[in-house]
């Protein structure tokens, strides 16, 4: 079987060489001249009678020294022993950086016109979705997530819920790509099938980029999310934005008394931390007025309302002192 595979690979490789212009393309010339070195490596990497260490060594040499030839062996390596399949995944992962350029070509793959990074991505996506070997599925998913692939990051959420992916690693992948990861994290945070600890960690993972703020805001307003998660989201969001408007909205709209008090504590802490920042007094006054206009059953409890009154006094006093 491996002889067939070698023949297939060499045909692919020959097609690459002939597709280019040998007279003007030094890369094609290099590969043509290097065939005496490449062919034995191809043969060794696919020879199932050899020890695995020899086959892996040959495959690594191809990846390192003859990447054009290595890419033509991905399919054979993937269909082969796990160690070689993992190497194929690694080689594909390395090509993904080029994918970000819209018209990435990186050399046509055996004349089909598919750019190599696109071929690598599509192959990895296929492995991630359908490969029968859990380790290869995981390796493909990891490779794509590391490169910020949208499909993989969305898949990651499902894998975590199903208990097939280590949550701590998933959170890092999602956190590193806010624009895509934020939506997945927000879904995980609101998912009651996910353990509470992980849901809270999903919110904490949204620290570090303002691109997470819309997703954090969405969690604070998501009635189906637990109050603990919503408050954690509020804390992270308020710290990130440095203002209190999200906390004020939360306090005014939250029907549950305990949750509302906890939200108010976040608001109060932020007001104190802002150290008389312009706008805080006005915001508290607005909060006070809005509360007083609410129907009695929706008003803030007396402890919270008294706290607001006290903070308003303190801020006014501080402002007066400043103006003197």
């Amino acid at each position: 079987m491996y002889r067939f595979a070698i023949a297939a690979s060499l045909n692919l490789f020959s097609a690459f060489v002939s597709a280019a212009e040998p007279s003007t393309d030094p890369v094609a010339t290099f590969y043509e001249q290097a065939r005496p070195q490449i062919d034995p490596l191809v043969g060794r990497s696919l020879d199932s009678s050899l020890p695995m260490s020899d086959r892996v060594k040959a495959a690594r040499e191809l990846m390192s020294s003859y990447p054009n030839a290595a890419k033509d062996l991905w399919k054979e390596w993937l269909a082969s022993a796990p160690d070689l399949a993992q190497l194929a995944v690694s080689d594909m992962q390395a090509r993904l950086f080029s994918l970000h350029y819209g018209h990435a070509a990186h050399g046509d793959n055996d004349g089909t016109g598919t750019p190599v990074p696109v071929l690598a991505r599509d192959t990895l996506r296929e492995l991630m979705a359908t490969d029968g070997r859990p380790a290869i599925r995981l390796a493909a998913l990891n490779a794509l997530c590391q490169a910020g692939d949208e499909a993989a990051l969305q898949k990651l959420g499902e894998e975590v819920v199903a208990g097939r992916y280590q949550p701590s690693i998933a959170l890092r992948h999602l956190s590193a790509k806010p624009q895509v990861g934020g939506a997945v994290l927000a879904e995980l945070a609101a998912n009651s099938q996910v353990p509470t600890t992980f849901r809270l960690d999903a919110v904490k993972a949204m620290k570090g980029s303002s691109a997470f703020n819309p997703f954090l805001r969405k969690i604070t307003l998501n009635a189906s999310a637990s109050s603990t998660v919503r408050l954690e989201a509020l804390e992270v969001l308020t710290t990130a934005t440095g203002d209190t408007s999200d906390a004020a909205i939360f306090v005014l709209t939250e029907p549950d008394k305990e949750t509302r008090q906890a939200a108010f504590k976040i608001l109060a802490d932020r007001v104190r931390a802002s150290d008389g920042q312009p706008g805080q007094l006005e915001l508290l006054l607005k909060l006070q007025q809005t509360n007083e206009r609410q129907p009695r059953q929706l008003r803030l409890d007396s402890t919270t309302a008294n706290s607001i009154d006290q903070m308003i006094k303190e801020l006014r006093s501080a402002r007066d002192d400043h103006d003197k």
Binding site: A34, S65, R95, F97, H106, Q146, S210
Partner: protein
């Protein structure tokens, strides 16, 4: 001007006519450019005042103290090519009584132990006459080192300089350039052979701006084929703590990359303003994202740039993930420059072992050569970088056409003059072929002023 004159020399050796000797590195009286690496630099010595007789001096070098192991070597006359390089530990020069300069070259001593400086000015060039000291000059053997090999002092000077660049907005600017350079630096038409050359210029731009802050620093490299236990720590380029769910990079409180108020932050517009993000790196403390340094069997530049970019370079970017994982954001992270210094080192290693690879007049040195024209090129490689064309975004001179291979000039913030020093004067527009022979081994006057710790002249 640096005449360091011994009173004894005046009194006993040179007579009491207040003779003094000037040692001028790079042929300039300025001491701010007294750094060099393994490649020789043209220098001169002269009597500062006319004398009754010619004066013979002997040049040697020593360390500023016992812990300073770097030394320099000398060669008489005009700067030698690599083929003519035959340096000496000690050089005797006869300085004419007229005060005319005598040329010599000086370089970091490579054999038997190629030690570079670890502190600014830790090597002292001494001139003696009749055994008495008549001049001395502190110099720095400045080379690009493995980041893991930096002393804490070197690391901290580097981090402080990087902080200044960050605070001046340069990291975000570099990110914009790298993003915009997609069609140039990673020009993925059929032949995008400018990858290595363009990134060499990019690294040099970054290094020159660091050196404008602190002339003693050089750009280190991250060997991403080996473990880097020091680099990925809070004291150096930051870490993502194992217990943190977030991918935010954390710096130690004493790290210059952290100010009392805010950590090193990125600003890529309203949708991404915040911490540096890295998807992974804690595992790279013990093993790199690529299994081993590539064997680099390539016989020409085009194959080398392909081979180095595809697996070796790509695995590091994707392995780190986060901002470094995407071309549009990669350069906001200082790690990007360490990563690409190592990519450049791979090119330099290949150049050192491949005959002709430093010659920009051959396919081995650079490809394609010449200049773009509508009729020159194969239809499948219509827009690529030719060796005689100026590199974007530094081609800012008046009346300069945008190279045919650049998509368009780009917005003003991504176009700036290159901070050249040494062989090239200010406002020099770097040309592709000038990136090849970076140590000027062929002697055409184009040394770029950097070396790697383990690659000799």
């Amino acid at each position: 001007m640096r005449p360091t004159v011994s009173f004894l020399a005046c009194f006993f050796s040179l007579g009491c006519s207040a003779q003094s000797v000037a040692i001028e590195i790079h042929g300039t009286a300025s001491v701010s450019d007294d750094q060099f690496c393994w490649a020789p630099v043209q220098s001169s010595a002269r009597l500062l005042q006319p004398s009754q007789n010619d004066v013979t001096i002997v040049l040697t070098s020593t360390g500023i103290d016992e812990s300073a192991s770097a030394r320099v070597v000398f060669q008489d006359g005009a700067r030698p090519t690599r083929a003519a390089f035959a340096p000496l530990d000690s050089l005797t020069l006869k300085l004419p009584k007229s005060g005319d300069p005598v040329l010599f070259s000086v370089a970091g001593k490579w054999t038997p132990v190629h030690a570079a400086s670890t502190r600014p000015g830790d090597v002292i060039i001494q001139a003696t006459s009749n055994g008495l000291l008549v001049a001395s000059a502190p110099v720095t053997i400045r080379v690009r080192k493995d980041a893991e090999a930096l002393t804490n002092d070197e690391r901290d000077r580097l981090l402080a300089a990087m902080r200044q660049l960050h605070d001046s907005g340069w990291f975000n600017r570099y990110a914009a350039v790298h993003d915009y350079a997609g069609n140039v630096a990673h020009s993925f038409s059929q032949a995008r052979h400018v990858f290595l050359a363009w990134h060499r210029a990019f690294m040099l731009d970054f290094e020159r701006r660091l050196q404008a802050v602190d002339p003693s620093v050089a750009l280190p490299y991250w060997r991403f084929d080996a473990g880097a236990p020091k680099l990925f720590t809070a004291a150096f380029l930051g870490e993502v703590p194992v217990t943190s769910p977030s991918a935010s990079v954390v710096f130690a409180a004493v790290n210059p990359l952290t100010s009392p108020a805010t950590a090193l932050s990125v600003d890529l517009g309203p949708m991404d303003r915040g911490d540096l993000l890295r998807g992974d790196t804690f595992s790279w403390r013990t093993q790199g994202p690529y299994p081993a340094f590539p064997s680099l069997p390539f016989t020409d530049y085009a194959s080398a740039t392909d081979g180095i970019e595809w697996g070796y370079h790509g695995s590091a970017h994707v392995g780190v993930g986060g901002h470094v994982g995407g071309p549009a954001t990669a350069a906001v992270d200082p790690l990007f420059f360490f990563l690409h210094a190592n990519v450049d080192r791979a090119w330099a290693v290949w150049q050192a072992k491949s005959p002709g690879a430093l010659d920009p007049t051959t396919d081995t040195g650079i490809y394609p050569r010449g200049a773009f024209s509508d009729t020159c090129c194969h239809p499948r490689q219509p827009r690529t970088a030719f060796s005689d064309e100026a590199l974007w975004p530094w081609n800012v001179g008046a009346n300069k056409a945008v190279p045919s291979w650049a998509a368009d000039p780009g917005p003003a913030e991504v176009r700036f003059a290159f901070p050249w020093v040494n062989a090239y004067g200010p406002n020099k527009e770097p040309v592709v072929r000038e990136m090849v022979d970076y140590m000027d081994s062929l002697g055409d006057g184009g040394a770029l002023g950097f070396c790697y710790d383990e690659i000799p002249f």
